[in-house]
């Protein structure tokens, strides 16, 4: 058998899996988004933007805000793990920070429902401590709850990648800065972060895409309007069997995720140049 044919044969199983489980469903969904009645058109998108523009904006804002907070938190955690001078505190943080990674989103949603509710644990503690009165107790089960859930769940993941990258940075570069009089904050921001920027970007893009696709958290924490795109997709399918608009919402979500990935690619190309 000629070599090219043999090579193709070896790749075939992997190729088939990608085609059948990824490319075909994606293409069907995208095509489905343009299917109106028997033909093709923009009807689903018109309906989508009429009904869900505020939800799309809400989703993008929540996910962007979460990504920003996650990035800051991950840098703070990674920075302390790398630059911290109290070995005991560093060891404790190293042991502690990864835990949320192993908790599924749906459990995070449930935990935060009981924690953030008007009569939840958080408010009870604050009232018990005399910091607020029962009248001031407010529920956090709205966009803030979603952001808190996303940050709680995703920050450890980004911190793990960032801390790993920071650990592999030549410590001499940090000591050289300290030798010349840089404070720890300056070392973090001017020496350490620029050297792990690539890893941070990858981790944040992955995190962004993950958050775009989470359904359980908005359903459990924010069962009101506006809500996130995923909840709308579930609603369109479950309540109306309307796959057209659901697919159109999916395409919007895909475009948003692809946009972030494009930003990252552009950055990494510029970096290499």
């Amino acid at each position: 058998m000629p070599t090219p044919a043999l090579g193709l044969l070896l790749v075939l199983p992997a190729l088939a899996v990608i085609l059948l489980l990824f490319v075909v469903p994606l293409a069907a969904s995208v095509a489905g988004a343009f299917e109106v009645g028997g033909g093709f058109g923009f009807g689903n998108f018109i309906k989508t933007f009429e009904l869900y523009t505020s939800d799309i904006v809400f989703t993008l804002m929540i996910v962007s805000l979460s990504t920003a907070i996650i990035g800051a938190l991950a840098l703070a955690i990674g920075g302390y793990l790398t630059l911290g001078e109290n070995p005991r505190a560093v060891a404790l943080l190293r042991w502690l920070y990864r835990w949320p990674m192993f908790v599924p989103f749906i459990v995070v949603g449930q935990v935060l429902r009981t924690f953030l509710a008007k009569n939840g644990l958080m408010n009870n503690v604050l009232i018990g401590a005399g910091l607020i009165t029962p009248m001031e107790a407010a529920s956090f089960l709205d966009w803030r709850g979603i952001v808190i859930a996303f940050v709680w769940k995703q920050a450890p993941f980004v911190a793990l990648l960032v801390a790993g990258a920071m650990a592999s940075v030549d410590r001499g570069t940090l000591e050289a800065a300290r030798n010349l009089g840089a404070s720890r904050l300056r070392i973090l921001l001017e020496i350490l972060v620029p050297q792990v920027a690539g890893t941070l970007m990858v981790a944040l893009v992955l995190s962004f895409v993950t958050m775009m696709s989470v359904l359980s958290v908005p359903l459990m924490i924010n069962a009101q309007s506006p809500t996130m795109i995923t909840a709308d997709i579930a609603f369109r399918i479950n309540a109306y069997g309307d796959y057209g608009v659901a697919n159109a919402l999916g395409v919007v979500s895909l475009i948003a995720s692809a946009g972030v990935a494009w930003l990252y690619l552009r950055h990494s190309v510029k970096e290499r140049a």
Binding site: D170, G172, T173, E175, A176, A177, R178, N179, L180, G181, A182, R186, E190, I191, P194, Q195, A197
Partner: protein, 392 residues
């Protein structure tokens, strides 16, 4: 030690956990002096440098600069700049920003920083490279940028941690010379850590040889090379050939007893601090005069050893032979090669033979040396020792 020491280290001990790296070490370095800390890996030389720089906190002792105790001060308040072994350049900054960063931290104006960076670039021959990133530089250029970054802040003391170990051999010779010349031109006090004795001798005014967290010997390059204070220093400075001999000290001379392979010899003490007993003799391959066995007797004072040539290899400028002596192999240089298997005599002039007392009891640390001793003086293995002990 001189009293006008600029950098003074007193009674310094450093330990990581249970292991002691430095043990009550004293060192004084004068202003403008270039000192090399020389030693094998793990001897504590880099730890000493890092303790000077403030990256290692000593468990005891003090570091003082110009009479000011800086032991507990942060690295940037000591007036020292460290050049790292890995260079530790910031990969995301250009050459100019790398060099200028220390000045930026000091709050200098942009114009002042640019001026100083240009000065440093000119000083180190980095003109035209200011806009490049470290990844686009050669090893030698990176090394100079690292040096420039340290010099830009105008430190009182320059610390260099194996600055040449990442360069290839040819560039190393050039940079070695450049750093030495630069140090003399700037008159800056400098401390270099190295494991390369040639590097240390070529660059420094004073060589400090370290062994297991202590100073084994310090002195001018010529002094440590030709008058090693201990067997360790002699070996480290290239006197790899070792023999165990019996010697008796009397009348300003040491009388060496004949062994199976070695001749009797009488050497002037010449300032050597020796007592009678078992001696370890060390000498360099290049100190040996090699002649065919049975040649005319030795004219000057010296030790003669009989052996058989095992192999010869050309080193450029001369031949190095491995010579079987008893069950030991010694190395000896000669201008022309001797045939393998040839019987030869190795003659070592007295001033190039380093002698050290071995502990009188079984304390000889080197078992092969002890076996060699038995081999070399088998006639009366106990007799001469006892005689010598009685005499002393």
């Amino acid at each position: 030690m001189n009293d006008d020491a600029f950098l003074r280290i007193t009674d310094l001990s450093v330990g990581y956990g249970a292991t002691r790296v430095l043990e009550r070490l004293d060192l004084a370095i004068g202003k403008g002096e270039f000192v090399a800390l020389l030693g094998a890996s793990g001897c504590g030389k880099t730890t000493l440098l890092r303790a000077m720089a403030g990256f290692v906190t000593p468990s005891a002792g003090t570091v003082a600069v110009d009479g000011r105790d800086v032991t507990l001060m942060p690295p940037d308040r000591r007036g020292m700049a460290l050049v790292f072994q890995s260079y530790a350049l910031w990969p995301h900054m250009t050459v100019a920003r790398n060099i200028g960063y220390g000045l930026k931290l000091k709050g200098l104006s942009r114009a002042a920083i640019d001026r100083r960076v240009a000065e440093i670039e000119a000083l180190l021959g980095l003109e035209g490279l200011g806009a490049r990133k470290p990844a686009a530089l050669s090893g030698g250029q990176r090394q100079r940028v690292a040096l420039g970054r340290a010099l830009a802040v105008d430190p009182q003391i320059l610390l260099l941690d194996e600055p040449l170990s990442n360069l290839d051999a040819r560039i190393r010779l050039k940079v070695r010379h450049e750093i030495g010349a630069l140090q003399r031109r700037l008159g800056i006090t400098a401390v270099i850590v190295t494991h390369d004795r040639e590097e240390a001798m070529a660059m420094a005014d004073r060589v400090v040889i370290m062994e297991a967290g202590r100073i084994a010997q310090q002195g001018s390059p010529e002094e440590v090379y030709s008058r090693p204070a201990s067997s360790f220093v002699a070996a480290f400075m290239g006197a790899e050939n070792a023999l165990v001999l019996e010697g008796r000290v009397a009348g300003g001379a040491v009388h060496i007893a004949a062994g199976r392979q070695s001749s009797a010899a009488t050497l002037n003490l010449d300032g050597r601090l020796l007592s009678s007993g078992r001696l370890e003799a060390r000498f360099r391959a290049e100190a040996v005069e090699m002649v065919v066995a049975g040649a005319q007797a030795l004219k000057a004072e010296g030790l003669a050893i009989a052996g058989r040539v095992e192999a010869a290899s050309y080193l450029g400028g001369g031949w190095r032979h491995s010579v079987r002596v008893g069950d030991q192999t010694l190395f000896a240089d000669a201008a022309r090669p001797f045939d393998g298997g040839a019987g030869v005599e190795l003659r070592i002039p007295g001033d190039k033979l380093f002698l050290f007392n071995l502990p009188a009891s079984t304390g000889a640390s080197d078992t092969t040396a002890r076996e060699a001793a038995a081999e070399l003086s088998p006639a009366a293995p106990r007799g001469p020792v006892e005689r010598v002990l009685q005499a002393s």
